[in-house]
């Protein structure tokens, strides 16, 4: 019985495969057509203006924010993130580092973002700021400092978190993102355990999503991955989100950033 089942399944799979290919070609054409004129540019413009606007109780701008390349240096900063910051003693991704800058420079408490709602208030500000910063690493190579022991530790944690199955559907990140050439519905799933897929994913988030006209940071992306994975909700900028980001960015090491991206 096992044998007949295998043959039948194979025949059905081959029939489905040809159709899947022509659909994939059409979807590729669709994506090419919308690639020019990414509305993420609107968020980037807003982010640049917010970066330079005095805000918060301290009425300060973010122009002295140190994203790892020195105070105020935005160019190329995202290509080296997440990274270890001595002043906070933590490995930080872009969003958690922006939280630090907003808190120390502007006096805006991190809780305004961490406990906030998506697309509202300071979390919305965060979206625009991220759009601005990542645009200034577009075209640059992903270069994580993997010699740093703290970053290395986060990589190891991230890799294990990626494969951690739990919840009512037994899913882990790897369920959908552990193999080449898979799709959910029509959506291609990058294999994040290999370099090529990791570059496709890490290298194109944050991104504008046409389905809801929103700009999504990696924090937002990961949050919604976990939602669909049916876990509890990851806390904004929590250790697991940074660890997974280190795992993805390290796997994508050397790839070129196309940030900000344009997504379904």
């Amino acid at each position: 019985m096992r044998k007949t089942l295998g043959m039948a399944a194979l025949a059905a799979m081959l029939a489905g495969g040809a159709q899947a290919q022509s659909t994939a070609d059409e979807i590729a054409k669709y994506r090419e057509m919308i690639a020019d004129g990414n509305p993420a540019e609107l968020f980037e413009m807003e982010g640049e203006s917010l970066w330079k606007t005095p805000r918060g109780p301290k009425k300060a701008t973010l122009e002295q924010c140190d994203l790892g390349q020195g105070p105020g240096v935005v160019d190329g900063a995202f290509a080296r993130m997440p990274r270890y910051f001595a002043d906070t003693g933590r490995v930080q991704d872009l969003e958690s580092r922006l939280l630090t800058c907003m808190e120390t420079l502007q006096g805006i408490p991190a809780s305004a973002v961490v406990d906030g709602d998506w697309n509202k208030g300071e979390r919305k500000t965060m979206d625009a700021l991220a759009a601005y910063v990542v645009t200034h690493s577009r075209g640059q190579k992903i270069q994580l400092d993997l010699a740093n022991p703290q970053t290395r530790r986060m990589y190891e944690l991230g890799k294990r978190a990626f494969h951690y199955r739990s919840g009512p559907m037994d899913f882990s990140c790897a369920t959908c993102h552990g193999e080449d050439g898979k799709r959910i519905r029509l959506q291609d799933l990058p294999n994040l355990t290999h370099k090529e897929g990791a570059i496709a994913a890490w290298g194109s988030w944050p991104a504008y999503r046409v389905s809801n006209s929103q700009f999504w940071t990696m924090q937002h992306r990961l949050n919604d991955c976990f939602r669909q994975q049916r876990t509890a909700e990851p806390v904004f900028a929590s250790e697991v989100t940074v660890a997974l980001s280190v795992y993805m960015a390290a796997t994508a090491q050397g790839g070129v950033l196309q940030t900000p991206g344009l997504k379904r």
Binding site: D36, G37, P39, E41, L42, M45, E46, V210, S213
Partner: protein, 103 residues
Amino acid sequence: MANPMRIRAAVKDGFTEVRVLMSHVMETGQRKDSSGALVPAHFITELTAKHNDKVVLSAQFGPSVSTNPYLSFKFEGGAKGDKIVVSWVDNKGDSRSDEAQIA
């Protein structure tokens, strides 16, 4: 107040190609919010693009145009440094006008 547009204009083969991204919700008036209430229609109705002082395109939009509208077109002539001005108004009377130089 509405957020600024992003306007890019470049000369190519005797034509100036203009690409515009507008920041606008383009609400259809048919969508319900989380509480089930209808979100009122809010969309750009009219747009003009000018090269120096000459209208090079005018358009009317309905609510079927996508959120954060994109538009591209091209006109004859135009030189590097010339001014392109794009203006829109929406059904609530909000408006926005931005300019860019031909690159």
